[in-house]
Symmetry: C2
Subunit: 331 residues, 2 copies
Amino acid sequence: MKKIINNPEEVVQDMLKGLIAAHPESLKQIPNTTAIVRKDAPVANKVGIVSGGGSGHEPAHAGYIGEGMLDAAVCGEMFTSPTPDQVFEAIKAVDSGSGVFLVIKNYTGDVMNFEMAAELAEAEGIDVEKVVVNDDVAVEDSSFTTGRRGIAGTVFVHKIAGAKADAGGSLQEVKDVAEKVVVNVRSMGMAVTPCTVPAAGKPSFTLDENEMEIGIGIHGEPGIERKKLTSADEIAEELTQKVLEDIEFNSGDEVAVMINGMGATPEMELYILNGRVQEILHERGLNVHKTFVGEYMTSLEMAGCSVTLLKLDKETKQLLDSDSNASAFHS
Amino acid sequence: MKKIINNPEEVVQDMLKGLIAAHPESLKQIPNTTAIVRKDAPVANKVGIVSGGGSGHEPAHAGYIGEGMLDAAVCGEMFTSPTPDQVFEAIKAVDSGSGVFLVIKNYTGDVMNFEMAAELAEAEGIDVEKVVVNDDVAVEDSSFTTGRRGIAGTVFVHKIAGAKADAGGSLQEVKDVAEKVVVNVRSMGMAVTPCTVPAAGKPSFTLDENEMEIGIGIHGEPGIERKKLTSADEIAEELTQKVLEDIEFNSGDEVAVMINGMGATPEMELYILNGRVQEILHERGLNVHKTFVGEYMTSLEMAGCSVTLLKLDKETKQLLDSDSNASAFHS
């Protein structure tokens, strides 16, 4: 294990220290928690948006805190859900009286802990609503999930729900548009090399020198198939086809595309993959409104990628395009 | 070699295809070249800003094309300078009659080829000025350089020179402020794992399992010292001290900080490093105006980092803060 860290048991606290030190004008940490919130929270008359999950997926989720996106990100230990009390602290910190909306990736621990936090908050009179994101078409259930996993498509939920709240949407309106995004977003990923959780000290899985895994999750959970590493074009075809088959895409539909790197994949390779993805979408008659290429939802230093498609309508397109000053998301 | 590519000999062309496909509204490729320019180039009454160099450093340099930053990036083959004729085409494409400014990283091939392009352009009546960036304090000469190398600090030159041109600065004014940045910016890097050029098929150097190299270049050129991998705090101290010793920093000086990942380093580790860097700067009495943490100047999938400090004055601070819509740079 070759990592630029101090104590493997304290990587999350050390990361949060460096994160706050980098953005002291916009972020603050709730004392004695791993919850990061907007410095100006709670924002008056605005629904607060809270997300989070295990650490190791940076820039998810703290990089998405900012005007027009998240108000708080609750950072769990490595690949581990934050506890209910931490999420509860974040909910209290961002509630201005307009209610709080939770964006949860579909992992059993996250769903349970965010729901327990919601109950604690409701007991104190805070209105809480939520959405569970399950964009990964690869597998129906996994080692960490009942139902499909939430992966890179979650970032589109953050952006669009956050923009709706920023535009003055009510808690119900934020929930409605977030659910619309969840219904219309699909992703699928693959990996060529594993990652190592610092405290474990060794990779969570192995792949042979010429092998890749299709459909792998963002914690290295098994996917659909291990096979010989193919070309970027073939990988693009396999991932994109699987995504396109999952919901109805019709000629003329407008879509947003995310080509996400898993952590160690050079941006060059993501752009190479994107070249073929765009051709496939063009052949299908889809109208690509906007493309995002980069690292949005990672798995430490895993090498690999995911392809996400979001079918847009007038409302979601306008909300996707609206301004945000989150450090890790450009519109 | 495990890479998401098609033909190893065609990675740059394939990348550029995917890049243009991702940003069709803002970028175009000059036909039969590897020069990428703003779609609206040349911009009337504005000095054109051109940079570039070998590919493999993404998002440098095409990710920095946009309003308030670069007008063109000329992409060479992997770790190889673009040819003079390619640079010449970029100069012609961005000249509105106000002249063109070249930002060159200090590598022998880049300096020679950009200077030859400047001569070709001047022969056609285009005013051209340039700056050579040599921010790397690690070594005085290297395998690719006479004098110090240009590394991540180059991105600050792009931003500030680009902002000056965008604000209506003359060619001489752009040159003056770019030179001021070069005088005031210093960087130093390190690596824990190497990278592999696709056409070579094997790593350009090796490091033992518990070894790191301090002062390494962005093509894996040798640095100062190979030694046992230490903690993030010790790495932060070594890099930051070397940078601080190189030019005069006085208590109360304002600085911009860049914690740059070399390609495969998780963002978590960059933030951990940043925690200690900020403490050191605070202890020195420096006033950190803004911090940038992420991948700005990479070396394919090399794992490692660099620390850059830029001493600011009123003018450079304002230009650093001004808006840009380059895809890879947030102000």
